[in-house]
Symmetry: C2
Subunit: 201 residues, 2 copies
Amino acid sequence: MITLYDYLPSGNGYKVRLLLSQLGIAFKRVELDITKGETRTKEFLAKFPNGRIPAIELDDGRLLFESNAICWYFAEGTPMMPADIFERARMMQWLCFEQYSHEPYIAVARFFAMHPHVQDPRVALKGMIVQRGYEALGVMEEHLKSHEWFAASRYTIADIALFAYTHVADEGGFDLAKYPSIRHWLERVRSQPKFIPIAQA
Amino acid sequence: MITLYDYLPSGNGYKVRLLLSQLGIAFKRVELDITKGETRTKEFLAKFPNGRIPAIELDDGRLLFESNAICWYFAEGTPMMPADIFERARMMQWLCFEQYSHEPYIAVARFFAMHPHVQDPRVALKGMIVQRGYEALGVMEEHLKSHEWFAASRYTIADIALFAYTHVADEGGFDLAKYPSIRHWLERVRSQPKFIPIAQA
């Protein structure tokens, strides 16, 4: 059975949990507390040199890290990934946007709110983090004004990746009141078959 | 012909220039100076809402942004992308690693060195940027001790993406003296057919 190294509050871990649940793929979870350095042990780093969850281990020992790469692997050949090459590239575009322009602000603001005593030099950049988080939400809102989903005419892993931290953006202090298209899209994601909430193992 | 919106000093733009050159795909370049806000004009944002280069426009008007997504699109069906699903996921893993754990440190340190008078609150995090940049180089060095390339048994877009800013890491103050496996890999990339240097249009 697939082993998922995970941390329940993590939106990045949630992407994989949600996708595997929706695809009906069985997996066992190994919970690692990132706030206690459990992904920086010698044993974990020997398998996953970047020291981050989520990460997976297949039955034959093959290893993969990075949430969006893991989602890509399991989505191949399923309705969660478009068959058209350009639509796949567009899905990739939104996955990159999520990791580069969205997660470092939306997720990081939530992490600071959940761990107010954390020692992290980025706390000094709170103003920039909030501003760039809203910029990312602005890009999403603009897209969703004229599109039902992100990469194609249906729900794909681009929606899963962007949903993961957007739907808990309020926990980091972001107010979605002025983003009606995002709020409607969040509801569309929540109404997908076999949806599970973020903290559910 | 394909239009590439680009900025010559950008490593992200270079990824696309290098790949298109190596694949023998013709394109025309539109140079936009990111330091003068030329990617934040109303006209550019209407096409590319994240306001960043590189971005491409196809003959039929289709648009795509995010350097690694553009590389993915052009690499599909070529030797630059593995046919095996797991190897493709591993390529995706390194592309995500590059955008999340490498570029924000290696590229940003170089940007600050090239633009010493830039107003950017991240300048205050110089110590963290240097530390995390070296952590990313450490992950790469460890991988390259036992692998010739990143994602497969041959050169792929994962190598292009990681090469783009690693080969100019010294311009941001990073010293590669203690990373012999990285230095040998840089030479292997430079010796690939139709290689072009970063500042060549």
